[in-house]
């Protein structure tokens, strides 16, 4: 590789490097980096009724965090988003790890078959998944009710998506159902890369399967837990499609399923009763940006570094 760095043309101006980089850098900068920065700039502006924009400093943020109309929506969406994230972390990642652990134990046959099936829902559009589950949970069709009756739990069935408390939990679990393939696959890849000699040595020393898992495998998958956590965090704090599809932009009932993504959409685009407000939308987007960036930075400088020193 080292020789490639001095090419025959000597110190000629490297036009080709610019040609190779230009298309990607231009499109990426124009449609991703510039809009992200410009959104932050817009969050310091407001528009009058004629549409002229003027600088207002931190006023949008003050409104968002203190105004009686905005504050409850912001904190509601944020808290719901935390619940959404926690349910993913607990349910999705523990089941994903369990499945990966079973699939990597040596006696299991048909690994490829099971992996393909578990990953299938992840491929589908969130819109499709949302509608499918809306149908399954619908009391009209009675699929969920019938299944619960078959195992003697019929009395516990409720139209969860329409109830203020359970709707958010139900939607979180629907999302878990869809995306469980991702942690399963990442854990699988990590577990399969653990050298056989290590596991054999432990077994020869008399360790049980359970001990091997907790004492040897689990410490080795901790870095993957971090990756899964940060991917889940970014995905969850950016989620929109599922809520919009099943509950509408108002994230009903009574905003109980409102996430940062739906809050951002409503603020920017408006809804039946309220006009859209681009600069407030940009403010919400900037708050989301800060939340996501905080998560990513905690992972990069807190978690990842600690794990590395631990391994050394």
């Amino acid at each position: 590789m080292a020789q490639t760095k001095s090419h025959p043309s000597g110190r000629k101006f490297p036009t080709h490097i610019i040609v190779f980089l230009a298309p990607a850098v231009i499109i990426y900068t124009l449609f991703m980096i510039y809009p992200l920065l410009d959104s932050m700039r817009l969050s310091f502006f407001a528009a009058d009724s004629a549409g002229n924009e003027f600088f207002v400093g931190l006023q949008n943020y003050i409104t968002l965090f203190t105004d009686e109309l905005w504050k409850p929506r912001l904190w509601g969406a944020f808290k719901n988003n935390i619940v959404f994230f926690l349910i993913h972390m607990i349910v999705q990642n523990s089941i994903g790890l369990l499945l990966a652990a079973i699939l990597t134990s040596r006696f299991v046959r048909g690994v490829g078959f099971f992996r393909t099936i578990y990953f299938l829902p992840t491929m589908l559009s969130v819109v499709i998944v949302g509608f499918i589950w809306q149908l399954i949970l619908s009391p009209l069709w009675g699929i969920a009710k019938g299944m619960m009756e078959a195992v003697g739990l019929g009395a516990y069935f409720q139209p969860w998506l329409g109830l203020e408390g359970p709707a958010l939990i139900a939607l979180s679990l629907i999302s878990v159902w869809q995306f469980i393939g991702i942690p399963m696959m990442l854990f699988y890849a990590t577990l399969i890369s653990i050298p056989d000699e290590l596991l054999e040595a432990a077994t020869v020393d008399g360790a049980s399967g359970w001990q091997v898992f907790w004492k040897i495998k689990f410490p080795l998958i901790l870095p993957t837990v971090g990756i899964v956590a940060v991917l889940t965090f970014v995905g969850n704090f950016n989620a929109f499609d599922l809520i919009y599809t099943t509950q509408g932009a108002l994230a009903g009932p009574n905003f109980s399923t409102d996430l940062m993504g739906t809050f951002f959409y409503r603020t920017f685009f408006g809804q039946q009763l309220q006009l859209g407000n681009p600069t407030m939308g940009a403010t919400v987007a900037t708050v989301m940006f800060i939340i996501i960036l905080t998560g990513v930075l905690i992972y990069m400088f807190g978690y990842q570094r600690r794990i590395q020193t631990y391994e050394l």
Partner: protein, 279 residues
Amino acid sequence: MNTKKLPRWLGRIPAYIVLLLAALVALFPIYLVLINSFKERKAIFKTPWALPIGDVFSLVGYEKVFERSNFGLYFTNSLVVTIGSMFFILFFAAMAAYALSEYDFPGNRWMGLYLAIGIMIPIRLGTVSILRLIVAMNLVNTRTALILVYTAMGLPLAIFILTEFMKQVPGELKEAARIDGASEYRIFWLVLPLVRPAIATVAVFTMIPIWNDLWFPLILAPSEETKTVTLGAQQFLGQFVSDWNAVLSSLTLAMVPVLILYILFSRQLIRGLTAGAVK
């Protein structure tokens, strides 16, 4: 010895029960939608779990979907947008990845980091300004707008993965070509086929989120002529929510292309995922 062997054999049963149960949970909702989309209305409610054979078989749902919506057009739009974006993502990402992996120019590391920001930061957060930009370019309600935005969205991860793979291409080949007087552009075309597996992996990774996206079609191109399948299905379903035949058929129509592609390419995709994670 005997007492030890028996529990081990028995111990495998719970593992298989868990695996099968998880497979059933993953599949039954999809199965129910698929089979019931081929049934008449009464049978959907009466015998939802039965196969659509005999009297209950009916295509009425599909007839309704094609009568009342432009599903064919939505498919075309999704295809044009997905394939167009994929072409630009793969081509431009391969070029950029080649520059990053091949030449040690000043600022190489910073350029790599700059291009990687988009892996973690969702492009959606810039939507307010993206819409303004698209309005200013007079591209609202065009498929071009979607292709441009999706290209920007897909580039960071594609560049990151392809750079890793291009670093592994042996230097001898390139050196030999240089000695023969080949231009740098010619060498790029020589290297490209060598990373074909990586390009295929990136293609599957970038295709799925673009095909499935609801956000940008909803905001940048919601007109009837430019609707994608995901947006078309979302609005159709919202409108005909009480017409079970039509709902189940449109869900099936929106699902089937992805299912077919997945069955064809799942091996490649899963290999890519596991390989990427090990690294």
